[in-house]
Symmetry: C2
Subunit: 566 residues, 2 copies
């Protein structure tokens, strides 16, 4: 009989249990052990904000199988024959002896576990700003089950009135929503000029506007100087510019750092991005050790660069690959990421897949084209909601490099479509005639994604000159006087308008009122409407009539991120 294989997995949150479960399915006889620092196992940590916000009340749902069984050590032993040692910390790896030294956090007892293959899934730790007061009561993160319990209790007590969220990333905005649902007045502090840095600025600004509309404040380009307190309790957050924001709670969400200490001390190779180095088999520099989840770095499939991608879905996929390979040899691969991410922010969703314009430029793509499209997700008569997408493509090939989407509409489907398009290395030409599922309850006859491809195709073919809201704003601030042409109807204009000196000439009468336009055929005329479809028609009309510098304000009023007159 073959020798029984021993697999040790360090980490019991997402990637670790997945690796262990997959390993078990490969070999019923192996000895599989999970070492887990926390008391809980296999937590649905991405669900914390929704528990804190009161979307559901039963905390066990974060820890249970779909059939309602809590994933505790008993469950792992009975259902999967996996030994899960909770409240146990891995403190050293002996690569020669092939053992892991562990310490029980309650009893202090230590033991040594022998492995044939080791899987490291040590996760990541929330970064904390190195400022005074970080240890005051009332300063927390939202990373662990304990954090979730702490914040949920605050919600249920309804005593705290003001809180500050430090960091405007994905977890920051999710936390903001959760605390606002708990009736707490929130201010988000972000060091950078925008929230959600996976979005380009103008897209992030639309999200910021929505956050503000829900009674939360946003302060960008401001760092925290100190947490101020009395009697050990937080009373205010002090910004670097001196402002003090009185509050009883501060949630810090400025990102995470991969937990590589154990791997580093064992002499495993750590990559440039700061994560444990692994190959496509999720194998570290030691062939008997795999690493998965938030502690590793993986290739970006477009740039080829190694990146950190601490996301729950990738952790699971990597765990599955490592679990298989550790048990049966290297047969499965994890190719990398396009950093697809999404979050819910009140009535909006916001997300990105592939490269933003900023990221594409940083990665050395010099010849790129972008387009912004605002259009509804389905017909008006089916309860349409708005979507705003920014698409980034490589000019020479038309290859899709990235897409960002925000708004109250079905953002998730849009991003999923673009993620698959990027996976398939599709081009604009592929997307203009994509064959997507159409019926009025689900989409427009020309889906928002296809309409976005049409816009960028028109730009690439020289049939549309786009101009962004930021460019228009700059022109106005610089004292330039482009002719601004709003092509909507008078009722629409009364209801909502930019108020930046535009002339209102509805599309339906534009052919009769061309004399009201600058008669200099080289004059810059910027056309728009609510979403700039009529704006585009107007620009085509003007070009047909000899104007040589007609432009379209991309995404129209819906994508205008600045204050409007109305």
């Amino acid at each position: 009989m073959a020798q029984v294989k021993r697999i040790v997995v360090i980490g019991g949150s997402a990637a670790g249990p997945k690796a262990a479960a997959r390993a078990r399915r490969m070999d019923e006889d192996a000895e599989i052990t999970i070492i887990q620092k926390d008391a809980d196992l296999s937590m649905a940590s991405c669900g914390y904000p929704y528990y804190v916000g009161g979307v559901f009340d039963d905390r066990r749902m974060l820890l249970s199988t779909p059939a309602g069984v809590v994933r505790d050590p008993n469950f792992f032993m009975n259902a999967k024959n996996i030994a899960a040692k909770t409240e146990t910390e891995a403190i050293s790896i002996d690569r020669v002896g092939k053992t892991v030294g562990c310490k029980n956090r309650r009893t202090g007892e230590t033991e040594s576990l022998t492995y044939d293959k080791l899987i490291i899934a040590t996760g990541a730790t929330p970064r904390l700003p190195p400022v005074p007061g970080i240890n005051l009561a009332g300063v927390t993160t939202l990373q662990s089950m304990q954090d979730a319990d702490y914040l949920r209790a605050i919600r249920d007590e309804r005593k705290i009135k003001k809180a500050v969220v430090v960091g405007g990333g994905l977890i920051g905005v999710e936390t903001c929503e959760a605390m606002e649902l708990a009736g707490i007045k929130i201010t988000i502090i972000e060091l950078l000029p925008q929230l959600l840095t996976f979005l380009d600025w103008e897209m992030a600004k639309l999200v910021e506007n929505h956050v503000r509309s829900r009674n939360a404040d946003v302060i960008t380009e401001s760092g925290v100087a100190a947490f101020l307190g009395e009697n050990g309790r937080l009373t205010a957050v002090k910004l670097q510019n001196g402002t003090e924001l009185p509050c009883e709670l501060a949630v810090v969400a400025i990102g995470v750092t991969p937990n590589t200490k154990l791997a580093r001390e064992a002499g495993l190779h750590i990559g440039k991005a700061g994560g444990i180095s692994v190959d496509a088999f999720m194998q570290t520099s030691d062939p008997d050790i795999y690493a998965v989840g938030d502690c590793v770095e993986v290739p970006h499939l477009i740039t080829g660069n190694k990146v950190l991608a601490p996301l729950g879905d990738l952790a699971n996929l990597q765990g599955r690959v490592a679990g298989e390979n550790a048990m049966v040899g290297n047969v499965a691969t994890f190719p990398g990421t396009i950093q697809t991410g999404i979050c819910k922010v009140f009535d909006y969703a916001a997300g990105s897949t592939g490269l933003s314009e900023k990221m594409a430029l940083q990665a050395g793509f010099e010849e790129i084209e972008c387009a912004i499209n605002a259009s509804p997700d389905k017909p008006g008569f089916m309860g349409a909601k708005m979507l705003i997408t920014k698409l980034v493509v490589e000019k020479s090939s038309g290859r899709i490099l990235g897409a960002q989407c925000v708004g109250p509409g079905d953002v998730s489907k849009q991003l999923a479509q673009w993620a698959m398009a990027i996976k398939g290395r599709l081009t604009v030409e592929d997307m203009v005639n994509a064959d997507l599922p159409y019926a009025p309850p689900f989409s427009l006859a020309i889906d928002h994604a296809i309409a976005t491809a049409h816009i960028i195709e028109n730009k690439l073919k020289g049939r549309m000159r786009g101009i962004t809201a930021a460019e228009v704003k700059k022109k106005i601030e610089n004292g330039e006087k482009p002719f601004l042409l709003d092509t909507r109807g008078p009722d629409e204009y009364e209801e909502m308008r930019l108020g930046i000196g535009e002339a209102l000439i509805p599309m339906g009468v534009l052919r009769k009122r061309l004399h009201e336009l600058p008669q200099d055929k080289d004059a810059e005329i910027i056309c728009f409407c609510k979403i700039s479809l009529r704006g585009y028609e107007a620009a085509r009309l003007l070009e047909g009539k000899g104007w040589r510098n007609a432009k379209v304000l991309e995404g129209g009023i819906m994508a205008w991120p600045f204050a409007r007159e109305k």
Copy 2:
């Protein structure tokens, strides 16, 4: 000055107006005319069932721009400088003289319109069964605005109690829902053994079960023999088997036939599938004539065969291509279809993209693998809804050939993902590590589509032997005695069970109760649970313990299309 180009478009529903509008954007000076038989223009015909069903009440929403302007001849003239002749029928095409003969349906006046380029968008006509009584009052289709008005009036009057829908295709089931919402008791009659023939039988059966659960009857494998009436009004539908179904209304939805008469009479080539032949430029056998929409046939992108694909989204895309090409020469192409379709059926959605198993076999793909996956669309704590997907792949290459999805969950996103995967010619290997937008409000950490890819990967790698519900049912009916192993918990078993002789051994105690299984290691053991994830774990366990014929009932109880004990 160049001569003004004259474009004539025959047809004013979807493809025609899109072609005309695109043509206008290519050339401001051209003369563009739409000839439209009906009184209305640019109708959102896919929205009829939702108007009839009362999802919205303002009929003008079907005819208006998003800004609320009715797309009538005035709108087309003012906003687009396009002459739209409504209630006007094209009766002949003179390809030598390049004219179209038209007749005004109110006045009877005729005229001849000269074209440089002609675009045919004559659409399709509902097929009617050649049986007595078809002209009785109360027998209708749901194809035109008049049909929609007629059925909406019936809904509003609330007098009719019973109706029959003849045809269980996409429009049939949408109509069924609409009429049921109007408080009418519905029976669907379908000649074939299943509803929605774009689905494989077992998937269609799940939809049928849902339709029945909503108080509608479904009679398959039955044709209509006659519509019976009194005083010119429908009183019953008589089936070929003699059954008479008393009803006051019958809606016929047995498919459509492309309107090719005009093209045929003009000597244009008609293809094998029965549609007007066009190339990728949407050009007919006459280089001055393009054709688009429901009247044409187009290539299927997987099989290469020409197919009819009368879908509103493709009509629009084709119109856009033809409008551009007709005006500026052949620069744009429409590559073809993968026949992506979706419909809402009460609380379910159902759809397909690419090839079903049946279609793949018909198309000559002999070595295919299929998998059925049932799993929720998001975490339980976020209000998960079930999805059931059947995936079809080519065995040798792993290439995705098709996907079907039904259920109350987010079917639309699933199909969109698969449609893009097929467009990109992706394989199972690409899909097992797809990087999709994950956050709890939108999906599971391992998205349903990725989980489906995992299942088929396990099958292809020989790690899972699947068996379908239909195969299990047949075995039981044939008197075979496979050991049926339900691995759920006792509470789950009490709540819902197949009742086909299964033994209940929960996964958590299976390792201790292996002695209850057949000790013949070649015995057939069929493992399942609610969705067959635990069923799969059980099969892996049994294989690890030496059983050589352990199988997984794919999709578990959720994908079981037959009657259950509970």
